[in-house]
């Protein structure tokens, strides 16, 4: 298994600003993922972040809006840029272990006013 922490746990932001979410895992992992979960809904994959390469974004998500860093095998950041109320959501990072299991962080609850 893997233990994942995220910071901040929640934030309230003004439209037009940016927020950077940090994800820290307690072991080295190759693959990290960023998801969004709207209230009461399922998860939507934003991007896959592998260390040493550019993040791979899913349809509907672009690097200018959601830049991702992956500086090493235990850490990643997701920035939500130029926020609007539609970006209000829970943002989750996850990692895939050698056993092909994904473990999730506790999430960052973002509210954009």
């Amino acid at each position: 298994s893997a233990v994942i922490s995220q910071k901040p746990s929640r934030d309230i932001c003004q439209r037009g600003t940016s927020l950077t979410i940090q994800c820290q895992v307690d072991s080295q992992v190759t693959m990290m993922f960023w998801y969004r979960q709207q209230p009461g809904q399922s998860l939507t994959l934003i991007a896959t972040a592998n260390q040493g390469s550019e993040a791979t974004y899913e349809s509907g998500f672009v690097i200018d809006k959601f830049p991702i860093s992956r500086p090493n095998l235990t850490f990643s950041t997701l920035t939500v840029s130029n926020m609007s109320p539609e970006d209000s959501s829970i943002y989750l990072c996850s990692v895939e272990t050698a056993e092909d299991e994904q473990f999730f962080g506790p999430g960052t609850r973002l509210t954009v006013l």
Partner: protein, 115 residues
Amino acid sequence: AQSVTQLDSHVSVSEGTPVLLRCNYSSSYSPSLFWYVQHPNKGLQLLLKYTSAATLVKGINGFEAEFKKSETSFHLTKPSAHMSDAAEYFCVVRLVAGNNRKLIWGLGTSLAVNP
């Protein structure tokens, strides 16, 4: 293309009665399948996984799921529901295409357990 369908958006059971949460998948090859649980205001937790070994998979908290290839199903069951089982449950299929690996999520089933 791979996809997963959770047949019930809401399931309500009485405490002590069996739980059945239904999931059908679509995959062009032998899939890896998972069930996750999300309790209110808590993180996602892996309940169990199927990865082409035994077709009956036992997970945590007394849950189990049976992979049925002929029916393309992976239903989640528990013999006796507990109040603490009330949560959102997600059926997930793992997509592998070259170096691209990602999870395809069902829309979720909300389980209510009545006293």
